[in-house]
């Protein structure tokens, strides 16, 4: 979310989930919302029922496209073209909110000039989206007061993910769709507490509350609070850490993640893990990464401990203990405290509530929040600077947090990998409704396991035909980095020339195929574009209806 911090001074949904139902125009891009964020999708359905217009920009047909006013099925990786062309229309048709631009932003001219070249006609040739549809969408977005943008990994999981975010931010700034209810720039967070992990400073650049580690004032404050000298230079991001494993990273501590499933270009990572001197993992199940670990510490799951999660709309909510952890397993905060003490630090054995108080005391944005307040008032949305502050429903009311919103011109750069003769298809990966990440939890549930028992790859009927593949056949998917086997699902949901697969399945790890080149700013890996090929392994013997992606069930309805 680095792009957002640069532009607006905060990296989170600017607006709230509940405001979606009141919106009049929804621009949903790179987000299969019904599957990844079902309850946010419900709010969108509610808005559409009320008469809101919905435009979906996504290479795939998704559930939301069935109720959308328009589906912009762009070629994967061409988001910058589409979004810049929308900006082009807004600029050339003079739909810019000049007051807002003058009073609350800087750098408009740079973007105005940069998008000159991006005419809808040229964009049509590259994105495959009709120029007229780009025009209409831009006009509707610019001229509707309550118009909001919603996006997820489909926008950020590219080598140019930050560019995509800048493009969206430019649209928001030039139309002044900020600082009001039901508008704004809304990244939907994929995981329960990814916002909270960032809030708490689990990032190489920020201390808790988005305070830069290389800011001398912040640095001095934390050295005083913690009573130890601290490193003033930012650390490595996840993508860099993973790539350095076994090279410059010799010791790794992994808490609650199965990096061997979730990270791209797995074979290279496995090589690194074989080299590494010391690996500790803290987990609730023996996962794939555990094969390489020297020490495995049994942690507690969300139902077995106290604490807080922050959701996508910056709301800090309570997690409460309902049952005891199994066997000797312990809450992760207890384990971390024990390790710090064993390493010579004088951390007190504490409680989550006291830890939270310590955490927010030095984080001005969150200082007003406490377990006690949440207990009384329900979840609170930051910024919440003091105990009397009610929390912030939408950001930037009456002005932008960082002072002025910064326009950032963006030029199109092709994705890291483009299709080749041997790998002519473009592979994207993503989530499904029934599973979650490495599926260690959801595959242990009978419903998801039955609705989606195994890995599959979606392929367009024309591409399937030319490869003599039919629905349900066993196929091999290959990229320059690896090969996996799964079932084919022949479907018009994907464009011709594109294939799509979920990344949840351990026996067909999509991330053996994906590119490990990260976004230039955030390090987020390119999970959305990689060159691939599909070949038949074994035809399905008795063709029965193959239970696959939920969305295709929807379309057959």
């Amino acid at each position: 979310m680095a792009g957002l911090v640069t532009t607006f001074g905060a990296g989170a949904m600017t607006n709230s989930i509940q405001e979606i139902r009141e919106a009049d125009f929804l621009f949903v891009t790179g987000s299969n919302t019904t599957e990844a964020h079902p309850i946010i999708a419900m709010e969108m359905k509610r808005a559409v029922r009320r008469g809101a217009r919905l435009v979906v920009a996504d290479p795939r047909a998704i559930w939301l496209t069935t109720i959308a006013d328009r589906h912009l099925a762009l070629q994967p990786g061409t988001d910058v073209w589409l979004l810049n062309a929308m900006a082009h229309v807004i600029v050339t048709e003079n739909l810019v909110d000049h007051d807002f631009v003058a009073n609350h932003t800087e750098g408009f001219e740079t973007v105005r000039d940069a998008v000159q070249e991006y005419t809808p006609e040229k964009a049509e040739a590259i994105t495959g989206v009709r120029a007229e549809d780009i025009r209409k969408t831009a006009r509707e977005y610019a001229t509707t007061r309550k118009a909001g943008i919603y996006y997820t990994l489909g926008i950020t999981e590219h080598t140019h993910g930050t560019d995509n975010v800048y493009c969206l931010a430019n649209l928001v700034l030039m139309t002044g769709h900020l600082g009001h209810a039901s508008t704004g720039m809304n990244p939907l967070r994929g995981q329960n507490n990814v916002q909270g992990a960032n809030d708490a400073g689990a990032t190489p650049v920020f201390y808790p509350g988005y305070q830069r580690v290389d800011d001398p004032e912040v640095h001095a404050r934390y050295e005083a609070s913690w009573g130890v000298p601290l490193d003033p230079k930012p650390g490595l991001n996840l993508n860099q850490i993973i790539k350095e494993v076994g090279k410059t990273i010799h010791g790794l501590f992994v808490m609650g993640e199965d990096i061997v499933i979730s990270e791209p270009n797995v074979s290279k990572l496995e090589e690194g893990l074989n080299q590494i001197e010391f690996l500790v993992i803290q987990e609730i199940f023996l996962n794939e990464t555990a094969r390489f670990a020297d020490v495995i510490l049994p942690g507690a799951c969300f139902a077995e401990k106290e604490g807080v999660f922050t959701n996508s709309e910056r709301r800090v909510q309570r997690v409460r203990k309902a049952v005891d952890p199994p066997g000797q397993a312990r809450a992760d905060w207890e384990i971390l405290t024990a390790i710090a003490r064993a390493a010579g630090a004088d951390w007190k054995t504490s409680t989550p509530e006291a830890i939270y108080d310590e955490y927010v005391a030095d984080a001005p944005k969150l200082r007003g929040i406490s377990h006690a307040r949440i207990e009384k008032e329900g979840g609170l949305q930051w910024p919440c600077p003091d105990p009397g502050h009610p929390g912030t429903v939408y950001l930037h009311e009456g002005g932008i947090l960082r002072g002025k919103g910064l326009f950032t011109p963006v030029e199109y750069r092709p994705s890291h990998e483009s299709s080749t003769e041997t790998h002519p298809l473009v592979l994207s990966t993503g989530r499904t409704l029934y599973h979650y990440n490495a599926a260690t939890q959801t595959r242990r549930a009978p419903g998801p396991a039955a609705k989606q028992p195994e890995a599959f790859v979606e392929i367009h009927p024309a591409d399937a035909r030319s490869r003599e593949i039919t629905d349900g056949d066993r196929v091999a998917v290959t990229s320059k980095r690896g090969r996996i086997e799964c079932r084919a699902m022949v479907s018009r949901q994907v464009r011709r020339g594109c294939i799509w697969m979920p990344f949840h399945f351990a026996e067909a790890r999509a991330n053996l195929l994906t590119v490990d080149v990260g976004d230039t700013v955030t390090g987020t890996a390119e999970y959305k574009v990689c060159a691939a090929e599909v070949t038949l392994v074994q035809a399905l013997e008795n063709p029965v209806a193959f239970p696959g992606s939920f969305a295709s069930v929807q379309q057959d309805r």
Binding site: Q195, V205, I241, D294, N311, I335, R444, A450
Partner: protein, 364 residues
Amino acid sequence: MIESPSILLDGNPVPYRPGETLLEVATRAGQDIPTLCHDPRLEPMGSCRTCLVEIEGWPRLAPSCATLAEPDMQVTTANPRIQRHRRLLFSLYLADHPTEHEACEDGAPCELHHLAHRHNADPNWPHMEPLRADRPGDRNPYVEFRADRCILCARCTRYCDEVEGVNAITLTGRGSETTISTSDQISLMDSSCELCGGCIAVCPTGAMAEKMPLVAGAPPERELQKVRTTCNYCGVGCQLDLNVDPSADEGRGRIVKVTSPPPGTITGDGNLCVKGRFAYDFVHHPDRLTTPLVRQPDGSLAEATWEEAIARAAAGLMGVRERHGSDALGFVSSSRCTGEENYLIQKLARAVFGTNNVHSCAAT
């Protein structure tokens, strides 16, 4: 100044916002009107007739859930006529419903029994044999439909259509054989159902019920403890209630099911998806790690005490720091862990081991 319009509710003037129903105005004014087919997330249907009120000048009682407030309407929410109507109506409903209160509530509490009792319904009316067809053998793992408890309020079918938007279940059949089913009686697994469980959550009588606790013979909901918490899957952060049997598993407690908080609850408005409502099996799964494990010289993993494991972990990390410096260490944290735990891991990396190489997985 323009005065906001008001109605006369049981003799007292109560202001309202145009577009509000009488039920909404009365509820805001603290009146407790019984309802069965109403849910604030759904379009009013006005079919169960339990919420009837008297309006001055109207010949018949009117459903408050489906009647909009109008200026100076005179509304009575309770009088002998209304009370008699409610008593007869609830007596009639009970005659077509399992009579034993406790037996009826083998899962969720039954709103019908509760309201019938409160409005002095007569439990001794001759019992009717229900003709509604059950749906035996639907192989979906989560949703059980028990036709004998169904009162055809259609909250489930309307929820499935209006809120979830998938239309998997509908009212089918005619007259006294009307029941709830998928089209063509197919299993929910083969339908457009997304297994959200919303039909269970909105059902007032326990006709739509969680299958797994029933199959397992778990204690009824009234004997369980509800713990309000935040879903551990996606970034929406829906609020949910873990329903715990505290004495199970040698006193460690066991999650019997997940229920949704009432509509209006932030976050989620009382809605959940299949993961939030049903994918909690992992908590009590036998594969859970229960003891620390430490790698042996021969490459195998052996169980260890916490003291050994923690000492080994700390020593291993300190050893790397000594040999290669602080920046040879990396800390990967998780969005699965709490805010407090993420605070501690970055403090561990920075203050104890001296490196800013800390990042949570999938920073998106």
